[in-house]
Amino acid sequence: MTNSWTDIKNTDLIVVMGGNAAEAHPCGFKWVTEAKAQRGAKLIVVDPRFTRTASVADFYAPIRQGTDIAFLLGVIKYCIDNDKIQHDYVRAFTNAPYIVKEGFGYQDGLFTGYDEAKRDYDRSSWEYELGPDGYVQIDETLQHPRCVYQLLKKHIAVYTPEMVERICGTPKDKYLTICKMIAETSARDKVMTSMYALGWTQHSKGSQNIRSMAMLQLMLGNIGMRGGGMNALRGHSNIQGLTDIGLMSNLIPGYLTLGTDKEVDFSTYMSTRGFKPLRPNQMSYWQNYKKFMVSFLKSMWGPAATAENDFAYQWLPKLDVPGYDVLRTFELMSQGKVNGYFCQGFNPLLSFPNRGKVTASLSKLKFLVVMDPLQTETARFWKDEGVHNDVKPEDIKTEVFELPTSCFAEDEGSLVNSGRWLQWHWPGAEPPGEAKHDNWIMAQLHMRLRALYQKEGGAFPDPIVNLHWPYRDPGEPEPDEMAKEMNGYVVSTVTDPVDPSKVILEKGKQVDTFGQLRDDGSTACGCWIYSGCWTEKGNMMARRDTSDPGNTGAYSNWAFSWPANRRILYNRASADLDGKAWDPKRKLIEWNGTAWAGFDVPDIAPGAKPQDVGPFIMNPEGTARLFARAMMKDGPFPAHYEPFESPVANVLAPKIRGNPAARIFKDDLAALGTSDKFPYAATSYRLTEHFHFWTKHVWVNAVLQPEFFVEISEQLAAEKNIQKGGWVKVSSNRGSVYAKAMVTKRIKPLICDGKTVHIVGIPLHWGFTGAARKGFGPNSLTPFVGDANIETPEFKAFLVNVEPSNGPATS
């Protein structure tokens, strides 16, 4: 989220698209109902299904899953055509005026530089035209044919209301009503907020779905505003935290990235991370990258990380591919190239696409370790559960360990919510039976490995035996110790270069902010964006002050919000070029002539003059990007591509299947189904009564939604002679499941490109352990293909067939 849950109360228009806030985030959705009740805000829901969010919406329109880009680019076109954009904002705060290199183009659904064999682009032409001064050439008038604004206009020209209806199946009149409502928020005193979640990410072009809305929000001047922004609802309680701390293949805490094989040493590594400003006076905050990186390395290897050994840069693994994401890992596993696997509170047997492939892959492991407070299906993937897990245990040679862990109620520590709030919590009881805290388990593993390497030696023991382990009880580090590590501390006293008697940073003290971090090894910091969470003043994440000056919904003294306790990102953009709030009623920060001040921590240097310095300080441009340059794998602009399994061909580029830049492995490509055998467009989702695969272990929730079902329209039910509450068999080219049929008016067939498209809804909460009735998950059906940029699987759009059945008993 750029904003926060409590900030949503400030909005005028909520667009829920690519998400289902009411069902997946009911308590956050409260701020939508507040905005509606308190300030007459309107709620728009665009979804293939009439969801429980739609049930309280002012306006609902259906859309075929996987066509959001066409819809959104169409809205941008509408806004431009009807002069409903926030001109000053667009001109000053986005790269609309920037001129793009000669040679960039887009044709037949492809951008310049496409290599079909590699399914990848040579992105060199997707760049700005630089002037002799090394800065980007711009045209304030936005008239230059190669300026981003003109290129965008040209790029989206095709997305007329008629085309949108043809692609998305959204009736033109409904679509235009929505365009009109959205366009209204281009006014300076009107804002719209976008609430989205996995309905946009779980596509082979998920990142571009989100970019499309972000671009629209920029055109309307709604980024950085109270009640505006791009608000990813996010999934798990600490999914934000784990991403921040970089528990992903290619990440280092604080969104730093691992080196690649090309970055042979630290200087080469840093050279590609120079982040020189692309416009005069811009902050280009990543210029501080080295300070964060060195401080991180110090927190990893402490004294062993020295200037001499490049602070142990080489001890980090290097990537030979963009990343070993889960799809790649399970592909390797299926080829027998992975021997050991750990699942710490993760249930891949139900969470990853193409369950058949997941089972086969896990069966090839030598050992599997599951750490979980609940008895997961993954820990039992080898168990014969009849139709619900049809395997032969004797053929599966994998050694499996199930390690019982504590749950939230027995844990202490911090979680980061989608509003980037780090909130501390306390344990109320001991773990049951022999269950242990994850910290204990990870520490015990490390200590054992360290001992083994010290005793026996072995492959490159240095990073293990030298891992910085300064904990009171090395066998079970306490949460406060790690929290302080992440905040950062001073390794060696730093004095003022001019007057050495003046101590700037005192050895052993916690740093107050990442501004104090050094690139010479005198500071250590586990996760720079968390600096300030546990300072000398104590645990800022445990703060419980509920005051909210100006009733902005910021609650600045409640817990801690990264970065630097900032509650609304890009809040500098809430003020105009002179530093005055676009909308006085929505004042956030303003330029008082000498400094920025207001209700939130300014997202800019306090003394940065409004005319000089752009609001998007993380970008070398200082502005937001409508044109993403080479930073997106599948295009600097979003473009409509069909899902890999689609009931209709891509009307814009019939030859192209799916996202041309999305990676798909050979076998998985072969495993895709076609609409002749699997005519119905399926999508998967969560229900409000359940949380993923946890609450089926919870008696009460099992009662509230006891049994696996699929949702189909009355028309499809009639066509297939399917009874309400009767059994159906749903199959894709990869597998099949049995489910009860929920026949509903809330799903209606769509007409796309003149063809009737039936939608099949498949919720994901059932498995073969827990209190709820045994059932299946959609991942028995879903295709093994991910987003081009981040490899999130395409769970939201795939093809199935549906037939009446007598249920699993008879199978």
């Binding site: 009411a22 069902e23 009911p26 308590c27 959705f29 409260k30 109902t33 507040e34 509606k36 009740a37 007459g40 009439f50 429980r52 969010t53 739609a54 049930s55 309280v56 002012d58 609902y60 409000t688 009564e689 008696w699 009460v700 929730n701 099992a702 009662v703 509230l704 939604q705 006891p706 049994e707 696996f708 079902f709 009874q723 309400k724 509450g725 009767g726 009860k740 049929a741 929920m742 026949v743 509903t744 008016k745 809330r746 209190a771 709820a772 009735r773």
Partner: protein, 305 residues
Amino acid sequence: MGLQSQDFARISATNMRPPDVRHDFEVAKLIDVSKCIGCKACQSACLEWNNLREEVGFNTGSYDNPHDLTPNSWTLMRFTEWENPQSGNLEWLIRKDGCMHCADPGCLKACPSPGAIVQYNNGIVDFVSENCIGCGYCVKGCPFNIPRISQTDHKAYKCTLCSDRVSVGQAPACAKACPTGAITFGTKQAQLTFAQTRVADLKSRGFQNAGIYDPPGVGGTHVMYVLHHADQPQLYAGLPNNPRISQVVELWKGLTKYAGMAAIGFAAAFAFVHGIVARRNDVSRAEDREAEHVIDEEAARGRQA
């Protein structure tokens, strides 16, 4: 009944009206159907607070789970898919069902067991399990079909409006939990005022018939609804248009009760008086003798036959 009797407005099956001297605030729960997302947090909170659990059921092609109120499930979301003929829009009407805590409770009227159903001065209608005899009369008395009789202990159960929480100044569990604020709790007066603002908001959004459901037929309720279509309550999973205690029940618990008692009393009294004043109907010596003749005569006839 002790001190607390002064806290009762009504007590079932008793002739003496409770003193009703303590003037408590009337409380009310307001359910704003237009804000409800049908998340079932209220059901969840209710089961948890009251330490009740339900059998894990089945899916029957609807979101209503469990499928009906039970002795353990005192509240339930009822889902209705309705295509509005005026706007042509689909509306998913979701109503939280449960005890309405009527000002004039039919259950209490029908109950034959003294003190098994009580109404506090704050308006809460409560079942006192200890006095409940499990006859099921309350089921017949209720215009909303709410009470359920447990087949385990044969006692009637329903929403208590969390009388235990209210008695210590807290809101009912469902009201506290409700994520969107569709359920609110307060004094009836304040709730009615607040409900007006909600109705105004709905009218501004085109729901011309939006209104408050506080049915006069039962003297008003302490659980009220804000409905987008207050003119057609039955749309919301059969919410009664104009609920009132059944005439049959009124007759049974009214006239019949008194007339019956009178008739029997009169008959008994008549017999008693007659017994005293009337001439003895007894056999006389003469009749004994005549009997002998008759016997001889008939016996003789018998022999000749």
